[in-house]
Amino acid sequence: YPRKKSKTKQREETSFILIIYRLTPKLEFLMIKQKQSNLLSGLWSFLEISSSKNHLDQMNEQKRKTYIIEEIQQMPTIDTIPSINNIKLAGQCRHLFSHIDKQYIIYYTHCEQNDVLIPSTSMQWFNEEQVQTSAISTAMKKVFNVALPQIKLKTSNGKKNGTIDNYFRKKNSKV
């Protein structure tokens, strides 16, 4: 028989995201393919470390970063641990799934040993355009857009492009 869509109160969750990027050959971001056990099967995402609210309450920033590094070392998809010099906080964002209200706390770090992470079907380096156009969830897009400006600032050799709007003002009447 036709079934009605059930409406339940959404569960709240928090995850840490770690965006690992490299500069050689170009600015690229490490993404992994989701395990095929959940709704987002087959989509690419950044490294995600779940954290219950209890844990979060107990950690300060320094402890969070240490926690993230050690969790990554446990992950089976990473063959060798990149040398993570310094993990930086990009920001936060929130995404409403159909039954989960999820908060993302987003970190980013530069990976220097890019030759030890072997691309596989479950882990690859994506450049900015590929991230924007590949199969990633709406949630990960939000995460990326929070982190991207920060990463670009850090990697842009101190120069970013100005925009024409800064130089020419809008007109009321056309030419």
């Binding site: 850090k154 120069k159 970013k160 492009n161 100005g162 024409i164 020419f168 809008k170 007109k171």
Partner: protein, 260 residues
């Protein structure tokens, strides 16, 4: 009704081909004076300004001012079908939602008519101030195309420096670094091949090479290109359309990032 006719339709094809990669769609402002267009690329880093005066057309009629939303990409595909010596007529009837592009072969045995749907586009116009540039450079447009292509091999950004000696373009990246220096032509045999530099003040500005290369798509319009620079000001890159007007590209410079 709007109707404009060109004996040498290829000029129009070159204009559209020069714009369509930077700006996929734009509004043509048609008036009694002619056709003008002003649009920024999607990142708002570059702006293009087109002027085609009505006197430059074989025949020109514009009953009332019109703003036509055109897909430059679609227009470009249609104009590519034009023969080398075809004449071109562009027409928009009153109360019509499409633009008609008619081509006629020189020996008048082949007539092609295309009808493209007009688009609904937001158009914001910016006021472009008259700038007294510190430095203006005229050089062959093919030379400028080559410089952009060569610099893009070395890096993403090109530093443009002008001094008494001439103008220098530099880029650096993974391969290493490179620079190209042009000096003023002393022996002006052919005016079109000359490099002329007028400098009131030295400038040193950095630009994204990618955009300069896109501007060069308009190089077939004119044997010469004009570059105008001032500190803290968008570069102007001009290709004249013979006896009709010009295409002017403006590119905002790259600036120091305060946070680093």
């Amino acid at each position: 009704m709007f109707e404009a006719r060109l004996l040498h339709g290829s000029i129009f094809a070159k204009v559209i081909e020069g714009l369509r990669e930077l700006v996929n769609e734009a509004t043509w402002e048609c008036s009694g004076n002619g056709i003008t267009l002003q649009a920024m690329d999607s990142s708002h880093v570059a702006l293009v300004s087109l002027v085609m005066r009505s006197e430059g057309f074989e025949s020109y009629r514009c009953d009332r001012n019109m703003s036509l939303g055109i897909s430059l990409v679609s227009m470009s595909k249609v104009l590519k079908t034009m023969g080398k010596d075809d004449s071109l007529t562009i027409r928009v009837n009153d109360d019509s939602d499409s633009i008609i592009i008619a081509m006629e072969s020189q020996n008048q045995d082949k007539f092609a008519d295309y009808e493209l749907r007009l688009m609904d586009l937001d158009s914001e116009h910016l006021g472009i101030p008259d700038t007294d540039y510190s430095c203006t450079i005229k050089m062959p447009s093919s030379e400028f195309s080559r410089i952009c292509r060569d610099m893009s091999i070395m890096g993403d950004s090109v530093l443009v420096c002008t001094t008494k000696e001439g103008v220098k373009f530099s880029a650096k990246g993974d391969l290493g670094q490179g620079s190209i220096r042009l000096v003023q032509t002393t022996n002006i045999e052919k005016e079109e091949e000359a490099v002329v530099i007028e400098m009131k003040e030295a400038v040193a500005l950095t630009f994204a090479v990618r955009y300069l290369s896109m501007f060069c798509k308009a190089a077939p319009l004119s044997p010469q290109v004009g570059l105008s620079l001032s500190e803290d000001t968008p570069l102007m890159c001009e290709f004249k359309i013979a006896e009709m007007g010009h295409v002017r590209f403006y590119l905002a410079p790259k600036i120091e990032d305060a946070e680093n």
